[in-house]
Amino acid sequence: MSGCDFLTLLEQRRSTRVFQDKPVSQSLIAEVVRAATLMPTACNRQLWQFVAITDPAVRIKACRMSDAQQSYFYDAPVLVAVFYDISLELRNPCSTAQISMGLAIAALLMAAEANGLGAIYLGGIRNPDGLRKALGAPAHLKNFGVVCLGYRDDDPPAPNRRPVSEVLDFNAFTPRPKRFHADIRPHLWSLEQIADFRDKLLWYKGIHIDGKTLHVDSDLRFSAKFQYMTGRLGAMMARYSRPRVLDLLSFNGDVVFQLLNAGGAEAEVVYAYDLTLGIGRFIRERFARLNPPGRFEYLNNADPERVAIPLPDGHVSVLSCYERLEHFEDPRPLLREMHRVLAPGGSALVVVSNRFYLHMNRYRRMRQKNYALGRNWNRGPERKYEPRHLEAAFRAAGFRIVESAGLQPIEGVMAALAEKLLRRIGCHAWADGAADWRAQRYVTRSWTRYFSSSLAYELTRDN
């Protein structure tokens, strides 16, 4: 194989998430694993072990015990669980055991590609030790996840790659701005960093281009908040004849998709606006597979330095912003843009996380001054707003607040606690009553809205 062939192999490789229902022979699996055994290890110790799972019963057991969340874990014909004995290299400053394992996994992926197989490395397993126990591996072997193998049944597009010039220096390190921050506080993040984070996350998250979400995740359709949002926006759209509708920072396009489904035919156009061309490509390709009714257009941010919606003044009648202001330390530039593009007499619905809600984990972390991105790995920077600051920002941008409501109010939390307690002591009829009471009070307009999980504001522009 020439160097050129090797590079072509690297360029062709994709992470495969959908596999054909076709078995892989044991000899082929052995061939792929042989490639891994040819890789270098620290001190040539070769302390790796591989377990190929081909029996469906063992796979289901492994899936359950490892608490895996990805559909391809369940669907792939072969799972190669990778183990390494790290006990000899625990104190190595360069984590050589981990590096050895990484090299072996890379070889597995490349060998699969070279042998006409698809593969993906899966490190996002909640309980790798459970996987070890499921396979009966001894405790001194550490599990480093699995490689899913099989014949490919998808053709994912090539994700963007960072250019070499951006990552390679000669002889000395060139200082560059940080790509992302491992910190949720938005004041650290530039607009470009937020855009890049959202772009990469959308393509990473395993949302297939046809809209198939490949992770077991909460279903947005069962979110009462999302249902409220869709209903309110629909009612707003009904106020105008052939309205132009704009959804801000649409990400995977869920809000836009539901608006098109429910009322696309009545709208002149529904715009999705976000910060990168990559996000636009994702939404367009997703919608091409679903083909919802109505006219849709993607708008890309017009200026990498600042929020700039590429629409003329007063262009849209209805505007939605679903938990997106949280990405910004200062919401005013986005609010000013929203005000600019909204037609006089138009309506905007903004849903924002409320700071005065009992986010106990958050308070605990704040007390510990722990702002690590971990919990927000799929959201990025996030700021929860105090209602008065937010309302002042709305007014400063020129909006009038027509109505505010609280979603998932504090009394609902109390009712949930009461239900739990009543169930524990066997008072199920009372517990059912508490559950019913809570279900009816998901939206509140009383003063307790200021202690709700999220605040929903209906805004208008008077002139």
Partner: protein, 426 residues
């Protein structure tokens, strides 16, 4: 079919009045209206739904046509099928198909129930000399190949997931049963039985595996195949037609026995005043309320579709249902929401009628007495109800539905035929 000689006149009248109510719920795209369901309420979206509401309507029209073969019934069926076709998305799913989570797409088990009914209606049109629109074949193919096989088939469990992000280690028997009905009907309609076979067999085995073998829920098809899942009479009964089909198609008596066990469970869930308990649990007493009126009809029509003939055990349920028809021709939604069973002022969720429940009553009434008779116009309703503990009035006319508090505060105001209510504070 004459179940109760004394009620045949009321059945005929009920059917006629319900027909008029459905006519009032029509909008430009289909059957409109809010929904109060077991999972929640879709009050903010009142537009057309492409969920299981069409099943009862299509079945009802077929019953009426069998009794009096008039072209108008076939025209209605053709019109409805065209409407459903316009709601399909490119991946095979249907928009606004989630019943009490409308307007979301991908409703389970509502989508397969819709497509199974569509395939039965297509066959009925053919039997009666009409040539079904070829677009229906494409619709069914898109649903089976695109939605069911490509997106919902679980290769590890060899059955069907509930939705895209579903738990991958469990399934929902009612959804799987509806899919079995679709696959058998599709295989017969297109001669592709062989292609369907492995999927049907996988799904069939998962149904048997999910059935509760002992304990308080013995015989039930629970709401989920997860251990300890509760069971609901309607969702269990909805498995009966699929089990009957599987007995015939696979020539396997295990499915017949499973069906008999489900019937035993249904008998244990019947309430003395008619209707069926809301939810049964393995480790605690059953939740009796709310008793959905349409669900009682759904249990009976599922029994009928699995080959059972109406008998005297149906009488309390039929009477329970007929007692709940209102002056507009609609039926009460439920009894016992908010712990207010038997109260003079019921909870508002008991009285707001929904197409997706009324269709089951329509199907039952047409089955028991296919000839409808009734007034040319229906009246209006104004009833005292409770909204979150406050006294209010539910008003329904041929033009609107409203919930107005005694103080004048409007909780809900919907003009029929529109998608979004003018006011919705619920």
């Amino acid at each position: 079919m004459n179940l109760l000689a004394t009620t045949s006149a009321s059945l005929a009248e009920a059917g006629g009045r319900l027909d008029l109510w459905f006519a009032g719920m029509r909008g430009p795209e289909g059957y409109y209206g809010p929904v109060v369901g077991p999972r929640g309420a879709a009050m903010a979206y009142c537009g057309p739904g492409f969920d299981w509401r069409y099943e009862g309507l299509l079945e009802g029209w077929m019953s009426r046509h069998r009794a009096a073969p008039e072209a108008a019934w076939l025209d209605r069926i053709e019109g409805a099928l065209a409407e459903i076709g316009r709601a399909q998305l490119a991946n095979g799913a249907f928009r606004c198909s989630y019943f009490d989570s409308n307007p979301f797409e991908g409703g389970m088990p509502y989508e397969p129930i819709l497509v199974a009914a569509l395939l039965r209606a297509r066959a009925f049109l053919k039997e009666n000399g009409r040539t079904p629109d070829p677009a229906l074949d494409r619709l069914a193919e898109q649903f089976v190949e695109g939605r069911l096989f490509l997106e919902l088939w679980n290769k590890a469990l060899r059955t069907f997931n509930n939705w895209l992000q579903s738990e991958y280690d469990s399934c929902s028997p009612a959804g799987v049963a509806a899919i079995v009905e679709v696959l058998i009907a599709y295989g017969e309609a297109t001669g592709s039985r062989e292609r369907m076979e492995p999927y049907i067999r996988g799904a069939a085995e998962s149904l048997l595996a999910a059935q509760v073998k002992g304990g308080a829920l013995a015989g039930a098809m629970p709401v989920s195949s997860r251990p300890g899942a509760p069971a609901n009479a309607l969702l269990a009964a909805r498995c009966l037609p699929a089990l009957a089909l599987l007995t015939r198609c696979l020539n396997d008596d295990r499915f017949k026995q499973a069906g008999e066990a489900v019937e035993g469970f249904l008998r244990s869930q019947a309430l003395s005043e008619g209707g069926f308990a809301a939810m049964a649990y393995d480790n605690r007493p059953a939740a009796q309320a709310p008793v959905f009126v349409g669900a009682a009809a759904g249990v009976l029509t599922s029994l009928a579709r699995s080959g059972r003939s109406p008998d005297e055990t149906w009488a309390p349920h039929v009477e329970f249902i007929l007692r709940r028809q209102t002056a507009t021709g609609a039926f009460d939604n439920a009894a016992g929401f908010g712990g207010r069973a038997g109260e003079a002022e019921p909870d508002w969720r008991d009285v707001v009628p929904a197409c997706g429940w009324a269709d089951k009553i329509y199907q039952l009434v047409a089955l028991l007495h296919p000839k409808a008779a009734g007034p040319a116009v229906v009246g209006e309703v104004r009833r005292a109800v409770r909204v979150r503990g406050r006294r209010a009035f539910f008003e329904e006319s041929s033009r609107s539905m409203r919930l107005v508090e005694q103080t004048g505060r409007v909780w809900f105001d919907w003009e029929k035929g529109t998608k979004w209510p003018r006011t919705c504070l619920l």
